[in-house]
């Protein structure tokens, strides 16, 4: 069941909170929230929150009209702060699992079941939805060349720093158990966080796994990642991840 109403949770149920960080996504949000509302996960209460990252369009109004709980940041703080805010919100409301679903429509809410099933059946603390694990070609259709190249390079960086082989380390479609979510709520990079946070988690003993999922191309708008951003992204993540390692 998917709901935003206050409900008493039966003892055998677990609570899954979906965090939807959104910045100027008024055109994509309706589809994402509708798909979330249609979700039904066995013995699980599904809750969601839209974190409006200082949008200048009608994102907040659209989200509220769709029955979403909305947490609005005073101004644009970036994906890192938005996601962390959503995690803090979820943990305050006793979530057992927290999952990030981007508001641009690339993440398909119905694929959440695959992530949820993997995290419940394995010893993973975090499960990352990978668009490349099954088919690199299919995954390429959902991203841009700079991002794909950057992702490959970052995959090598993750391997060098942690020994883990991740095919899609930049994927924001990921589920955390409560223990990992609590760590994230206190340790989350404020820019280009996706890869750095995985390295930090693994360096702190958390188990990160991948599972293949399908993703879509963004329906409206465009990605803010271009070649310049990609180069900076790779440098920043590599340097920050190395720093995490030597700080321990």
């Amino acid at each position: 069941m998917s709901t935003n109403a206050r409900q008493v949770l039966p003892a055998e149920f677990s609570k899954l909170t979906i965090v939807v960080p959104a910045f100027n996504e008024e055109r994509n949000l309706a589809r994402v929230v509708s798909e979330i509302k249609a979700l039904s996960v066995n013995r699980t209460m599904v809750d969601w929150v839209v974190v409006d990252d200082g949008s200048r369009d009608q994102t907040r109004r659209v989200a509220q009209a769709l029955g979403s709980k909305v947490v609005s940041l005073a101004f644009n703080m970036g994906i890192g702060v938005s996601v962390q805010t959503g995690f803090k919100y979820a943990l305050e409301r006793k979530a057992d699992y927290v999952i990030q679903v981007d508001a641009d429509g690339q993440h398909i809410p119905s694929e959440i079941e695959k992530l949820f099933s993997e995290i419940r059946s394995s010893n993973a603390d975090v499960v990352v939805g990978s668009r490349f694990q099954k088919s690199a070609a299919a995954g390429l259709q959902t991203t841009t060349v700079p991002r794909w190249l950057g992702g490959r390079l970052l995959g090598w960086t993750v391997f060098l720093l942690t020994g883990a082989r991740l095919s899609d380390p930049t994927s924001g479609f990921r589920i955390f158990n409560r223990k990992a979510a609590e760590f994230i709520a206190n340790h989350y990079p404020d820019d280009y966080p996706e890869v750095e946070v995985l390295v930090t988690l693994m360096q702190n003993g958390f188990i990160v796994k991948e599972t293949p999922v399908q993703m879509r191309s963004r329906a409206h708008g465009h990605s803010s990642i271009n070649w310049v951003h990609s180069i900076y992204y790779v440098w920043k993540v590599t340097f920050a991840s190395f720093m995490h390692r030597i700080r321990r």
Binding site: A74, D190, K236, F239, M243, I246
Partner: protein
């Protein structure tokens, strides 16, 4: 004899040695500050770019000579200071932009907090009036 060669080398390459030590010290200092979380990684990027550029120009004398010639500088090591000055200006402008953004955000936060407090007070006042009416 060996000592004399070394002394000769040090004396003739004084500016390069001083420049190299200064660059490495700068980069080492920034590295340590990032390690201690005193500087965020993203703000260290320009400092490392500065240090690496100056180190490269110090070690590759012909690059420095070409640059000096292009800039019309007679004594090549002076070009190092020009490059340093350029980077420092870029970093200062960057920090001016960061500070400006922080100032704007601070103002918005202060206003939002004040308005929220006013809203809370209004809400409490209305609740008290309702309670008083119900009691009457």
């Amino acid at each position: 004899m060996k000592n004399l060669v070394w002394v000769d080398f040090l004396q003739s390459h004084r500016i390069e040695i001083v420049s190299l030590v200064a660059c490495l010290t700068l980069m080492g200092l920034v590295f340590e500050l990032v390690r201690r979380n005193a500087i965020k990684e993203k703000y260290s990027f320009l400092w490392f770019l500065t240090g690496l550029s100056l180190t490269a120009l110090t070690l590759k004398r012909d690059w420095l000579t070409s640059l000096a010639a292009t800039l019309g500088v007679y004594y090549p090591p002076t070009a190092l200071f020009l490059v340093l000055g350029f980077f420092v200006i870029v970093i200062l402008i960057h920090y001016s932009m960061v500070l400006s953004k922080l100032l704007t955000q601070n103002q918005k936060l202060a206003q939002r907090l004040a308005l929220l407090e006013a809203k809370l007070e209004d809400s409490n006042d209305m609740k008290q009036e309702d309670d008083a009416e119900k009691a009457a």
